[in-house]
Symmetry: C2
Subunit: 346 residues, 2 copies
């Protein structure tokens, strides 16, 4: 993190985040649910998707872009399938309702999916995969997003840099969790390089004419390149079909950009898919096989001996354990912004 840090107990941060969201009109119970996602994000070290989002969400609530009092409705369409109508509620609340609906399917028929529409930015995916793993479930979770990527071979941004996560439970150990977006690099990294007046590596983005560039400013005005060319483009398309089209949400260019039109409903869509791993293997078998799996990977000779091979999510889980032991590290300035919201409440 860049800036002065504060270490705060998990429970205190959760209570504070809950009060802050409630100050914007979210019911106490729903605020607690949404706050859980954002506090977990900070515990995982994913600070750009943590409590820092609360002032941003509530800023949109104030101008009518998000409905803090939305009635999030879960419609069960089959024993294993649910549609979650977010009705423009805050994203992590819609996300948590969808996760709960998917988990209900996994409990009753071994596998469950929930498709959410009418949603907003729902935080990072790691917390949802983590919570699914705590319930003994493997997960596949994804969302569509504002368009920032050009279709492969095209010269206009018409696909979102859609985040995609997969999680795997590990009885008695750390779950394995992947959470990636489908561009080579994030816009945030490009903005940082642009601010420092530095160039960026080739292959991150092209300018607004579709020409390769190493100028991060030109890239920010152009569009991001997907990982693996047509492969990343294809994955981004499939995620939007599942999360956006099938859920009944907006898709592709129909998704409104929260930064450009903060007062407009985004109608984002998410897909939550969870599998009850306990129906497929006992905890003992799973634990043994995962220990073997993990050791095959971590024992790989490292290209740089100072950087041993890791599994997806290892960095986040190490941050999480540290946060459980020592308290959650957040930027002091971010914390102050959230505290300000709670004191402004009646």
């Amino acid at each position: 993190m860049a800036g002065k840090e504060t270490i705060i107990a998990e429970e205190r941060l959760l209570a504070l985040a809950t009060r802050a969201l409630a100050s914007g009109g979210v019911s106490e119970e729903e605020a607690a649910l949404a706050a859980r996602v954002l506090v977990l994000a900070d515990m995982f070290g994913l600070h750009t998707h943590g409590i820092i989002r609360i002032p941003q969400y509530l800023g949109r609530v104030r101008i009518g872009g998000i409905d803090a009092r939305a009635d999030v409705v879960v419609e069960r369409v089959a024993p294993g399938l649910a549609v979650v109508h977010g009705h423009n509620g805050i994203g992590p609340l819609v996300g948590m309702r969808a996760l709960q609906a998917a988990l209900e399917g996994a409990r009753t028929v071994g596998i469950g999916a929930a498709f959410a529409n009418g949603s907003n930015h729902f935080g990072p995916i790691v917390p949802y995969c983590f919570l699914a793993a705590q319930e003994g479930c493997a997960s596949f979770i994804a969302s569509n997003a504002t368009t920032t990527i050009a279709p492969w071979g095209g010269r206009d941004t018409r696909v979102g840099n859609n985040p995609l996560g997969m999680g795997f439970p590990s009885p008695g150990g750390d779950p394995i969790i992947l959470d990636i977006a489908l561009s080579v690099a994030a816009r945030g990294k490009m903005r940082a390089l642009a601010a420092e007046g530095k160039s960026m590596p080739a292959g991150w983005a092209v300018d607004n004419e579709g020409r390769p560039t190493t100028d991060p400013k030109a890239g920010l005005g152009g569009f991001l390149l997907p990982v693996g060319g047509h492969k990343g483009y294809g994955l981004a398309v499939m995620v939007d079909l599942f999360a956006g089209l099938l859920s009944g949400a907006a898709f592709l260019t129909h998704v409104s950009a929260w930064d450009k039109n903060p007062e407009a409903a985004q109608n984002l869509g998410h897909v939550f898919l969870v599998i009850n791993a306990g129906k497929l293997a006992s905890n003992t078998t799973l634990a043994e096989r995962i220990a073997d799996f993990r050791s095959i990977l971590t024992s790989t000779p490292a290209a740089d001996p100072a950087a041993p091979v890791m599994l997806p999510g290892d960095r986040e889980m190490a941050a999480y354990r540290r946060a459980r032991e020592e308290g959650v590290r957040v930027l002091t300035a971010d914390l102050a912004e959230v505290e300000k919201l709670t004191t402004a409440a009646p």
Copy 2:
């Protein structure tokens, strides 16, 4: 295709492929099921994964590497979940049994998954996604594979170039189907460049010391690089957790290489996951939304006007329609190999 081609009617090719597989000991009914996958592969233009595989599969049957008479057992562990024990049967048969088991879940509870172990090379993923789409289902299908990729930051091949597919049904139109492996480039492309004495682009592979190389021979002796670095590595890991570890199959370096040890059982694992789209939207709504989705992408200004923007699977679906109209194009030499097998049978 490189070489003389023959055009053959779909039904004739299917009958021929079925007889060829049956000549190796596969029962008539099971041979027809497996042949369907390989003939569809040829219809989609995926000839490296089509009927050309039959002599290879039967070669392994002869030396005990594959059991043509294996009893493929479907074990239903929950209304939405099945485990398919392949017992070292031919891959496309295990794959078809798993697809059927997953579709049964989708019919009864809206969503279904099947986890297959004890399998072998199961063909390309496109045919399975296509058949799921014909049943009105969206799909997520993946397999593990022999290790050819190094973990990110590592210097040894310990992860497979695991294929991953996603399909989406399109009522009255072409399904949208993505089928990718997770390396930047395929070993086949590198072999072709090596044979021509050409160099390969940077970023495809590293040599056996983990050093970047543009020499395809050095790359073939080293290891493939995953798309998007840690992103492709992470996806390959997650696929192996779902397809290999959770299914009860071998995983990572435990997977035996069919080309190096053709006489050994591979114990490959697959995951088949299908969603009954009709439970989420009517055919009319789906068709309308997909038409809109498709037109947003295909109307993107193209970087090269001669190469309009496409959706995943468009190329394969065009080949499929042509094969339906004109017959299936196969290499004359490949066809002769398969015919030889049928005449050798008693």
